[in-house]
Every structure is written in structure tokens, then in C-alpha cells.
Symmetry: C2
Subunit: 438 residues, 2 copies
């Protein structure tokens, strides 16, 4: 197993009346049966392309070629896109690209998901465009922010390097059907990869949308899919819903909503590299379930820093939250805290408890203590425990939460794949833009 899923602290048997009753869990698990059956059928007949992604290989060579070319020539690659066109790639790149300096390997990926003029300037000022690549990602090809970014930045590349250079510096990922981004790519001769029309943005991390950034960052794209495949197989082949971990997770979340009005789902990794994973998860859960007046609010937290920010509310506020901690086995790793190296420090009893411990010991102890304290206060908490964090495990986490979300949608009776409400705001924004036409 690429991860352990410890969820007994979600149950009344363990935490009292803040938890899910045995009856409630049984009922919710039973209801996941049809969702699992449907997923099995969809995998067999190919009608849900997301489920085919882990086994796909045909789409990787063009990504590999483009990534190898960009890696060889560029120090920076701008990734234009928003929401599902950006968060999977950000999450994957965060495995290796951290901190303020240039990455050890390959170009720095700079994700542009804003139209804030000052932010665009801050992120692009001073770039040596001769050593900069750009990838614009939009499934529909009509995303206003992404097109606006591209129409601002293309002229800069053209001014600096000439029109002919655009085709060597800029690529796009969009659906095969005709659309503004595809037409734009055609006019400038940009490399254009096909966005799978059957895979929505928030489910696209394991498609070229996530794998191209992964490959540019020097990561193993096949391993991401391998980890996802393991979770998909173990879920669909599980003998009982309780052994299909994403079904178990969905049953707990929706069971707690129905039985205890648990309306918030807090994802709290104790792994800094998974901070972006929280952003990805929060789109997935919110946009898939938040409709028809239902859904629960996904909340992105991070340990241990949020012990000094959110934990007071989590422990002593209303009992309306389900906690999912992600814990990496870090005991015994990292630099050692050694007050003993200085004789006068060794004498300070207030520092003695840190003596000889690794930073990873401290992180490990804090994660365990938070899970235990939440449970002791009667809050439902589950822990995903990872022995390591690499591409394979990240791919497993992606698939776990995508399946959990799809199954939760079935339990709520909503469509996990649409987002009908956001259209209205887009139309209104266009109208405001037109009304203020200079």
C-alpha cells in the first residue's frame, strides 16, 4: 500500500457522539455500492476517460519531447492557466521546486493564475525571454484570464525575439475542437497538445495538463500514473466497500454530514510539499459537490503551523468539521537539534526536551499529538499515513481523492463533473467589461 488510511477516530465507538455511529457508517457504506459498480462499469466500457488515464501511454511521448526541449533551452517556464489547468501542475511541481532559489534541476516553473497587473509584472519582470518558455492551458480555450495573459505576453516575446521565435517558445494545451486558444496557436504556429475533452479541469492532474509540468520539472510522469493505477485497481477490486478506501472516506464524510451536520472538511498535511495539494483538493471537493444547496466546505490547513492559527477553533469551536491529516513518516530524519553541543545550553532545562532530536521527530510528534488531541475532544479525524512522498505516492493521493469525491457526489445525489453556477458570473464580468469600454 502506498498509504495507510486510519479512520477509526471518526466513529462514535472511539470519539463519542461527535463521531459517526456504526449504523450511520453501515448505511453510508451500503450506499457506496452503486457508485463503485458504476465506476467498475465505466472503467470497462471506457465511458469515464479519467479512469483510463492511469493506463494511457500514447499521450506521453509528445509531452516528453516538448519537456526535453524546454528543459534544454530554458531557465524559466511560465504556465498560464487557472483552476484545474494550474493546480495539478502546481501540486506536482511542489514535490521538487520549493524555496526562493532556482531549482536544482531544470527550469523554474512559474504558474500564472491571476490577472492582477502588479502580480503579473512581479512574476514576469526581469525574465530573460530568450531563456523563457511558456505553456498556455485552457480546456475550453476560452478562459478569459488565460487568453488575456497570453495576449499580453505574446507581444513581449515577439518584440524581444521576433515572430518566428514564438513557435519555439510557446505551447498550448486545449481541446481538439476549434476554440480561441487553438486558433491563436494556429496563427502563431505554436505546438498544441490535445486536452482530453472527456476529462474536466479538476480531474486533469494525471493528463498532459499535469504531466507536462511534471516532465519539465524533471519528474517521473509514469510513476504518477502508476501510483494512481494502484489505487484505482485496489478500489475497484475491493471485495467490500469498507475495503475500498475512497468509498470508506466518502461514506465517512457524507455520513457525518447527514448524521452530525459536519459541514466542513479540513485537509491538514504535516508535509510542506503538500501545501499546494490542499489547493488542488479544495477545488476538486468544492466544485464537484457544491451544488443543489448541498456540499461541504473544503478547508486547506497545514501542520504544524496551523496549530498556532486554527487549532484553537478546531478543538474548542463548533463540532462541524471532519479532519484529514496527512502524515509522512519523518521520525529520525532531518538535522539534529543539539543544545548539548554548547555546554551552557546543555544546562538549560527548558531546552533539554529538544536535545538530540531530529526536526523530523518534532514534526512526527506534533502530527500525532494533533490527531490524538482532536479525537480526545470528540472531533472526527482520520490520518493518511505515508511511508514516503514521491511521484508514485502523489499519484495515489490524486486518485484516492478523485474517487472519494466522485463517490461522495453519488451519495449526495449530485453530478461530480459539472459546475453550472459559475457561468453566470463570467457573463456578468464580460458585460461589465463591455460597459466600461474606453
Amino acid at each position: 500500500m502506498l498509504y495507510e488510511h486510519l479512520s477509526e477516530s471518526c466513529l462514535t465507538a472511539r470519539i463519542g457522539e461527535g463521531g459517526l455511529s456504526a449504523e450511520g457508517l453501515r448505511h453510508a457504506l451500503l450506499a457506496t455500492g452503486p457508485a463503485l459498480d458504476r465506476l467498475r462499469a465505466q472503467q470497462r466500457d471506457g465511458s469515464l476517460p479519467l479512469l483510463q488515464l492511469p493506463a494511457r501511454g500514447d499521450d506521453l511521448p509528445p509531452c516528453r519531447d516538448l519537456a526535453a526541449d524546454f528543459r534544454a533551452r530554458f531557465s524559466h517556464v511560465l504556465v498560464l492557466g487557472t483552476g484545474g489547468s494550474s493546480l495539478g501542475g502546481q501540486t506536482i511541481a511542489a514535490l521538487v521546486q520549493r524555496g526562493a532559489g532556482p531549482p536544482r534541476d531544470g527550469p523554474l516553473l512559474v504558474f500564472l493564475d491571476t490577472v492582477d497587473p502588479q502580480e503579473i509584472e512581479a512574476l514576469t519582470a526581469g525574465l530573460d525571454l530568450a531563456r523563457t518558455g511558456m505553456v498556455a492551458i485552457s480546456k475550453s480555450g476560452g478562459t478569459a484570464e488565460t487568453l488575456a495573459q497570453l495576449l499580453v505576453l505574446l507581444p513581449r516575446f515577439e518584440a524581444a525575439l521576433g515572430r518566428a521565435a514564438l513557435a519555439r517558445h510557446v505551447a498550448a494545451i486545449t481541446e481538439p475542437a476549434d476554440n480561441p486558444l487553438r486558433r491563436l496557436a494556429g496563427r502563431y504556429g505554436l505546438t498544441c497538445l490535445d486536452h482530453d475533452p472527456g476529462v474536466g479541469g479538476r480531474y486533469s492532474a494525471l493528463s498532459n495538463v499535469g504531466l507536462l509540468p511534471a516532465l519539465i520539472a524533471g519528474l517521473d510522469a509514469a510513476a504518477l500514473r502508476r501510483g494512481a493505477a494502484q489505487v484505482l485497481t485496489s478500489t475497484l477490486e475491493a471485495a467490500r466497500p469498507a475495503e475500498a478506501l475512497p468509498a470508506l472516506g466518502a461514506a465517512i464524510a457524507i455520513g457525518l454530514l447527514n448524521e452530525r451536520r459536519v459541514t466542513q472538511s479540513v485537509l491538514m498535511p504535516y508535509v510542506a510539499r503538500l501545501d499546494s495539494f490542499g489547493l488542488w483538493y479544495r477545488q476538486l471537493w468544492a466544485e464537484s459537490l457544491g451544488k443543489d444547496g448541498t456540499g461541504t466546505t473544503p478547508i486547506r490547513a497545514l501542520g504544524p503551523v496551523d496549530q498556532h492559527s486554527q487549532l484553537q477553533l478546531y478543538l474548542a469551536g463548533p463540532r462541524d468539521k471532519l479532519f484529514t491529516l496527512i502524515q509522512l513518516d519523518t521520525a529520525g530524519t532531518g538535522p539534529t537539534v543539539d543544545p548539548g553541543s554548547s555546554p551552557d545550553l546543555a544546562e538549560d532545562p527548558a531546552l533539554a526536551y529538544l536535545g538530540g532530536r531530529h526536526l523530523g521527530d518534532l514534526l512526527d510528534a506534533m502530527a500525532r499529538a494533533t490527531a490524538e488531541t482532536l479525537a480526545k475532544h470528540g472531533h472526527p479525524v482520520r490520518v493518511l499515513r505515508l511511508a514516503k512522498l514521491d511521484e508514485e505516492v502523489l499519484g495515489a493521493l490524486f486518485m484516492h481523492f478523485m474517487l472519494e469525491t466522485i463517490i461522495a457526489a453519488e451519495l449526495l445525489g449530485v453530478n461530480p463533473f459539472d459546475q453550472p453556477a459559475v457561468e453566470e458570473g463570467k457573463v456578468l464580468a464580460r458585460r461589465y467589461l463591455s460597459e466600461s469600454r474606453p
Copy 2:
């Protein structure tokens, strides 16, 4: 006024039954009276040191001296601290330090608020320690994460530069009373500034805890306090609670909780530089109000990117959220989107609506459309509108939300200044650390 506070879209008169009734608002506003009176008395008698901060000047010279010295000698300054010892400084530094490159002016501030070993390595690897400074901030002087970071990093400085150099590279901010950090500073001869004992971490952004990082980043610390002073004065001198904007905000939030079970408070700036402000706000609101089984959950969002992530849930999910949008007047600013510069692009009708618009126009239209659409769907939404964003306005925002939080606590009947529940987890983490002693 440094900001406009538009809140009519929180009321039933404007948005229907999802809003706060006139009677509910009147009742909640009436209840803010004693809170405002108490704040006035505390300002007069000096018993709440937070309220004295805007007018203080005595604590700035030592910050200015230290900052000038660090700015002259260092390319990087590590700021060690967590929660309230970090988030104010991060928020302030984000005004000017954005993006991947080195800042235009002064050293890059690197905030360390984790003990994740890989993250510490990623953030400190490759630093030229001869050109690096370090500030450790802990009010109590006993924060495990901060001490562990310091005890890992001090030996590195010592190994690279010698023990005598530590006093020139490392400083601390902690309470005057004896504590582990102060003893450590004493042993190594570090500059040690006093953390005001009467100002808790989450209320410390306008103390040296926030102002030292501000000054190192080259910002105007006095302007931050000037903006805060304006809000404090206008709030305490308001003739009626409805004109004291933080009281009005608190009345709306708690009124909606009591009348409509609005349990989540979404802060959604349409300003990328205020993304960290959301982190600061979320600690302030959660830790101050989340106790005795009450409080509402602060949620950090960012526009426009979260239109592609959270807006579906916000519009079509449960009516359990109050939205606060922060909008900066950006119309007419930033680079121009000009599909007309290329004849073949000018012909694309799908791009025509972007033609000739500034990125700031697009941002502005999106913020207005989101506020309008939320209101149209019956969700309470208020807008803080800023004509500009600088130190003075940020100081005003800090003070607005601190006062709003304190007044909201009064309405809920909880103490805004303590965080009793988090102690238990700390004790347990220490025990786990002891049990696993090597």
C-alpha cells in the same frame, strides 16, 4: 477614508432571506455599544496595549537601526517564528516582495514557520551565510518550532563564520521576562528586542514583530501605524455604532450567525498582494473567537483564481457563508490586452471583448461580477473597496479586522485574547517526543 465598507448586500432588504434582517442588525449593533465603550475606556487608561501601538514611537528607533544594518549587509534575512510571530510580517513583506526573483530593494525575507526537514533544507540550502541575517521571534520564548529551528541554524552560522559573528547576524524578539529564547540570546550576545508582553501574537502586526520585517523590506513602518491610527480614531469617535465600521462588520457577522446560522466567513481579496493577509486574518478570527463551542470558520480565498475553484460551492452550495471581498481600484491600470495589434487576431470575434482592455479592467470587472452574482443568489456579501494599497491602507486593514474581531468576541461572550485549547496538544507533543527518545 482609506477604504470604503459596502455592506448593504448583507441585508434581507437587498438579498432576501439569506441576509440579516433590519431587526437583527439593529439588535446586534446595539450590542456592540458596550464593546465600543470598553475599547474607549481601554484606550484612555492604557489597559489594552494594542490600542496604544498606533501612537507609539519609542520602539521604532531600535528596529530602524537593526533593519538598516541588516539591509546594508545581507542579501537574505531568515525570519524564524510561527503563527502570530510570522503572519503579520509575511503580510507586510508581501506588499513588495513577490515572485521568484530577488526583491528590487533590500534583502529577501524568508519566513520559516515549519519544522519539516525537507522544507527547512529547501529554504536554507545554498545561502551565503556571510550575507544572511536571522531574526527569531517568539513572544513566550518557548515555542518549540522556533527554538528547534534556531538550534539547528545557529551551529551552521557558527561553523561558517565563527562564534563571534553570531551577534552580528542574529537577533531575537521576545518578552522581557526570562525565557529560553532570551537566555539563548544572552549566551550568544544577540540583539534582543522586547516583545510587548501585553500584545498577543495575533495582535502584534503593528508592534516590532511586524515592523522590523517591514523596515528590513524597505517599507514605511510609521505609515502602517498612521493608517491603523485613522481607523482606531474613526471607530472610537463614531457617533453611532453603525458608523464605527468594525462594529458594523462584527454586528453583521455575529447577527448572521445567530439569525441564519452563517458559520463560515470567507475573506476573498481580488488583490494578489493580499493573499497573505488572508492567512493573517484567519489566525486572528479563528483563535480569537473559536472557543466555548462557538466561533465561525474563517476561510481564505483569492480572486479571481477561486472563481475557478470555490465559486461553484459559494453560489450553489449551502447558505452558510458570509463573504468579504476586498477590491482595489485597478480599472485602467496594467498592460493592455491588444488582439488588434495582429490583423488576423482582430478578426476573432471570441477575443474582441478583450481588445483594448487593461488587465486591471478585467480584474475589476471580475470582482464586481462576483460580488453581484453572490448577492443575486442571496448570499450575504460585503466589499471593502480600496483606492490604493500601500503601508497606510494595510495598517488600516489590520486595525479594522482586529477591532472587528474584538467586538465580535464581545458579542459572542468569549475572550478574544486567549487560546486555552492549544496547550494540551503542546504537552502531548512533548510527551511523544520524550517517549521516542533515542
